[in-house]
Amino acid sequence: MKIAVCISHVPDTATKINIADNGKEIDPAGVTYIINPYDEFAVEEALTTKETLGDDSEVIAISVGNDKNKETIKKALAMGVDSGVLLKIESQLDSFGIAKALAEEIKAQGCDLVFMGKQSVDFDNQIVGQMTSAILDYSCISVVVDFKLDGQDITCEREIEGGKEVVAAQLPCIITAQKGLNEPRYASLKGIMSAKKKTIEEKSAVETESNTEVIGLKKPPAKNPGRILGTDSSAVHELVRLLREEAKVI
């Protein structure tokens, strides 16, 4: 079986973000990029699925973006993914545009099982998996914390408010991964070295258009500076008084 794992290249959550001059994009200068953390769970699940199948299944990583995404694809290759595809785009697409590009490639590759993160931590739309499945007419199980495959049958556990839901589906299917699905492996040193020899196919994404347009990005308002009331226990009373009388939160 061909298994696809869709991965996005996102700013490190610890990185400081600045807005580009056009006011609509982030300024990539000085930003460290990482593989989207939820996609790491997806990669791990794709790899363990392949290992459990133990046949000649292969795992293909697909990423929509630009040359920089190759770093992230390499990370997946180093973890053990067999090959990568970079779908190049000229300008940033919205979730629908990305879903269309992914769907086209998944179809072309003939992948019946697709893993991706439940959301990308850059724009947090939480919708690419569902949209891709709708375009392809695949089933989709989202926010998955446990995945089992038996022949064509899939059983997943999903996180829902206050509990878990068990969902069954059949291939072809898209799974979006939630934290807790697994413990992503380290890229081993050998894996990193052998990733050099694996291929990343580069092509233009199908002509797609975004349905939505980003009008502007804004930083959250600057926080007021904190106030230090003292450094010993006598400050506690003052703190309680201010929380009650000034902030009125207790």
Binding site: A78, Y186, A187, L189, I192
Partner: protein, 389 residues
């Protein structure tokens, strides 16, 4: 998990390949996730975290610069050095474990061993299923290993080994020891297995340094070593010195990891500790210390990358490795001690990693050739006069 970045004032990262950066970052995350949360406890109990061995093996940290045919990763020397740097950011004891297994056990088997010995031992050692140690130093012979008293005599089917080795890293947890002893006056290497009769490896207690690493005595009392366990390509003292040269290379990189974490700790502390209504970072004398650390770190980073590139293209001389080991260990120890000063009383507490690094670096400055011996090696190289032999 900490989000360690490591200061890089001159963007030395731009001198690295993408693979080298990925390898560094993989080891960095491993150290943040697996080493740092438990290291203080192991250090204070004087225990090596044994459960890390399979994890280190799985990532490929054991003998990674040896070729893939023996199950190793085939890294270049810069990547290998970066891995050592990251491990020692965790603790010198963890780095020592990897140095000994890779440079002092797998390297001699790879370089001086028979094809059977390589096929038998290297895959087991790289998987961490077998642990090795390296016995050169003796109670009466440290800086002058040529005077060693450990002796082998030829007997039917093998050799009888007698002698004592001292200060041997991993000794009590090792399945095999690479032991250097004299056969008819010539230094030869032997693979001594834990089960061999007459061999024991009691642990040395009471260390104030490298407490998260096992250090032992090795005792050989008429130990029979079969013919197939002599390292056939060894021909003299220069062979163990070649091993040490590999390990010293790793140490020169490793101690930069200790420098980076001491610097970062001291800088953050100085910015937040208020005295006389100011952060102590605002005082000139504190700034002078911090700038000194940064300067020495930068010099060591640049030296290491160039040293690694020279090792990869085969132009590195052993005296150059001595210079790097000598300089970087001395500066690392100085940075650790002066960082401790910046933290005042907090500097001695195990809430911060500094005192542990400082105590560790006392050993690191001494083992694999003391500061003085490396001075004399470089001194001989530039003057042509040996001041010690």
């Amino acid at each position: 998990m900490d989000n360690f970045k490591g200061v890089d004032y001159f963007n030395t990262e731009s001198l690295l390949t993408q693979e080298e950066i990925m390898i560094r970052d993989t080891v960095r995350i491993f150290v943040s996730k697996q080493v740092l949360p438990l290291i203080e406890e192991h250090y204070s109990k004087g225990k090596f975290p044994m459960h890390l061995i399979p994890q280190m093996a799985e990532i490929g940290l054991l003998g990674p610069n040896l070729p893939e045919e023996y199950g190793c990763a085939g890294l270049n020397n810069v990547a290998y050095g970066l891995m050592m740097q990251e491990l020692e950011r965790g603790d010198s004891g963890i780095r020592s474990f990897a140095s000994v297994q890779g440079s002092l056990v797998m390297y001699p088997i790879f370089t001086f061993g028979s094809e059977e010995q390589k096929n038998k031992w290297l895959p087991l050692l790289s998987k961490g299923e077998k642990i090795g140690c390296f016995g050169l130093t003796e109670p009466n012979h440290g800086s002058n290993p040529g005077g060693m008293e450990t002796k082998a005599v030829k007997v039917d089917g093998g050799y009888l080994l007698n002698g004592t080795k001292m200060w041997i890293t991993n000794g009590s947890i090792a399945d095999i020891a690479i032991v250097w002893g004299k056969l008819k006056g010539k230094v030869m290497g032997f693979i001594v297995e834990k089960e061999f009769k007459g061999f024991s490896a009691p642990e040395i207690r009471g260390k104030h340094s490298l407490r998260a690493s096992i250090t032992s005595e090795l005792i050989f009392d008429d130990v029979f070593v079969p013919d197939e366990n002599i390292l056939p390509k060894t021909t003299g003292l220069k062979n163990p010195l070649m091993c040490l040269n590999q390990a010293r290379y790793g140490i020169a990189w490793g101690v930069v990891g200790a420098m980076l974490t001491c610097y970062e700790t001291a800088l953050n502390y100085a910015k937040s500790r208020i005295q006389f209504e100011k952060p102590i970072a605002a005082f000139q004398m504190t700034q002078e210390k911090l700038v000194y650390f940064l300067t020495e770190i930068t010099k060591s980073q640049l030296l290491n990358i160039q040293m690694g590139r020279m090792k990869d293209n085969g132009t590195l001389k052993f005296a150059q490795v001595s210079l790097a080991k000598r300089n970087n260990c001395e500066k690392a120890l100085e940075i650790a001690r002066m960082s401790r000063e910046i933290l005042g009383a907090n500097g001695i507490s195990n809430e911060y990693p500094i005192m542990r690094h400082s105590a560790n670096l006392e050993s690191v400055k001494t083992y694999e050739g003391t500061h003085e011996m490396h001075t004399l090696i470089v001194g001989e190289d530039i003057t042509g006069y040996s001041a010690f032999l």
